[in-house]
Amino acid sequence: MASPIRASVTVARLSEVVHPGVVTTPVTRRRRLPPALLIGATIVAILLVTAALAQVIAPFPFDQMHIRDRFAPPSLHYLAGTDEYGRDVFSRLLIGSQLSLLLGVTATLISMGIGVPLGLLAGYRRGLTDEVVMRVLDIMMAFPPIMLVLLILAVTPPSLMKTAFAIGILSAPPIGRVTRSVTLDLMSGEFMEAARARGERLWYVLARELLPNVWPVLMVEASLRVVFAVLLGAVLSFLGFGVQPPAADWGLMISNGRAFVEMAPWISLAPGIAMSITVIGISLLGDGLREVLDPRLGGRR
């Protein structure tokens, strides 16, 4: 039933909440892609291309100062205006998108590198392994997230990779939990019985039997985590504990523009708009993926 209600609701769904009243399991499986997925994928694709080609597209080098054109408002020459040093804000936005995406992806990869093996192992072994892993993850989640990151970043000189690492550790427990719960669901599958009957080794079962089946749900969770990393990374650079100047980081640009917000609001506003487009794009992509892949919404794989 691809009723208009359902189609329009999917556009506006937040990743965290499913709507029990609205979503219906279709009797005949339609291969129609949800609009959220299409819009999200388009935005993300454009972002990836512009980030990859940022150095080529950018009209100016991101750190080139035009002393005569300080605080120039947006115009055809400077698409998003210039900042207090006369640097082209648009070029900095483009370079900044590389930093944001790099941070988001690296942090997420780190969290998956920690969370996925733990989750698979806990779900497969159950018993004591499960108990120990889940306790550790619970304790990790009980710490106030921003305190831990600030503590790590405050005691050591900040860098992009360190920020990514700190955020990656924060995101590992939720990834581990999702992996475990999906693994537990999969355990009753016939393919697992077959693998056990064949006497496969542990790593083979985890990597070749379970992982490919956990993957779809992980993709959805990963999109959430990328968004989380991008936003938290911006907060950290804003507070001065993330990427350091003169890097063209979005959070840093917003923070720097703060002093001139009355006379040159574009310095701060432009990176915020870029960030919200990024976040909305990735969230929509995640929601769309969930729609297509999540076993709770569609039929089982």
Partner: protein, 318 residues
């Protein structure tokens, strides 16, 4: 339930102990030299060594930890290095200000969030629903401090309506005190609204589809009564627990928001301490924030049990 609560309290204590160890070790890994920081530019290695001896900084780490931790338990939070004042009064003053901010934000978020969720659920799939969704999406698509900046630009710079930095004093009257709170509270609300309104919407939608609502309608009760007295009452249970959880998120958000509005609360004090490497202040602020966060999470879990007796703790949770 009681044993569960006690066990959870034990976990909170455990986490505080681990956090105190982490904070202690991390601050001792700091590149800054405490004695040099206190003595300033005219210090010599000899005077530094003498002061380190006087402060006990040359003792072995476990002994130092013991001195520090037992001091904490006696309520002695030490002396701020940069401000040269005892930490405790500063901390409680900042704590009070942050608490005012947090409580106001929670009050606004809960009323507005629930109201928006109900509106979205009642007019499901129509424009009120979509507007609520778009609003919620926008709220969480940028980091919280960005909204702070936009609000400063709108209300402070353009219209000069509200103060954009600092905090008011109650002695100047309630109106002035509140005027300083308006923008930070709106900013916090924007970032938290999405969670509450979405959850209220989905639980409300579930209740509206249930049998007892159909029965109430069939009995000819006015729609207003059906929605408020019947459905909302049950839909509120999950909303309440989400609110308690959000209180934890709020503590994270408060750090950035207090910084952008120069609001002299706990978050700003923490950032100040981190930037100036004021160890005692940093340690105390992190521990207090951790304690508040853990207690908020504990409250959320316990409320969940009280509001929903079907959940049994400690048993199989699969």
């Amino acid at each position: 339930m009681t044993s569960y609560a006690l066990r959870r309290l034990g976990t909170v204590a455990f986490i505080l102990i681990v956090m105190s160890l982490l904070v202690f070790l991390a601050t001792h890994a700091l590149p800054s030299n405490t004695a040099a920081l206190i003595l300033g530019q005219y210090s010599t290695p000899e005077t530094q060594a003498a002061l380190e001896h006087k402060l006990g900084l040359d003792l072995p780490l476990p002994v130092q930890y013991w001195h520090w931790a037992s001091g904490l338990l006696r309520g002695d939070l030490g002396q701020s290095l940069v401000m040269e004042r005892p930490v405790a009064p500063m901390l409680w003053d900042a704590f009070g200000r942050s608490a005012v901010l947090a409580v106001c934000a929670m009050a606004v978020v809960s009323t507005l969030g629930v109201a928006m969720g109900v509106v979205a659920a009642v007019w499901r799939g129509r424009w009120p629903d979509h507007s609520v969704s778009v609003f919620a999406y926008l709220g969480i698509s940028v980091p919280e401090f960005y909204w702070g900046l936009v609000l400063i630009l709108l209300f402070g710079s353009t219209f000069h309506l509200l103060p954009t930095s600092g905090s008011g004093d109650l002695r100047d009257g309630l109106a002035s005190f509140c005027s300083f709170l308006v923008l930070p509270v709106i900013t916090l609300t924007l970032t938290l609204l999405a969670h509450v309104s979405r959850l209220t919407r989905s639980s409300m939608a579930e209740e509206l589809d249930s049998m007892y609502v159909k029965v109430a309608r069939a009995r000819g009760l006015p729609e207003r009564v059906v929605i408020i007295r019947h459905a909302l009452r049950n839909a509120l249970v999950p909303a309440i627990t989400v609110l308690a959880q959000d209180f934890g998120f709020l503590i994270g958000g408060i750090v950035a928001i207090e910084t952008i509005f120069a609001y002299p609360g706990l978050g700003r004090l923490l950032i100040f301490a981190l930037q100036r490497q004021d160890l005692p202040l940093m340690q105390a602020a992190i521990l207090v924030l951790t304690a508040v966060y853990c207690l908020a999470n504990l409250t959320a879990d316990l409320l969940y049990g009280v509001a929903n007796p079907r959940i049994r703790y400690g048993g199989a949770v699969e």
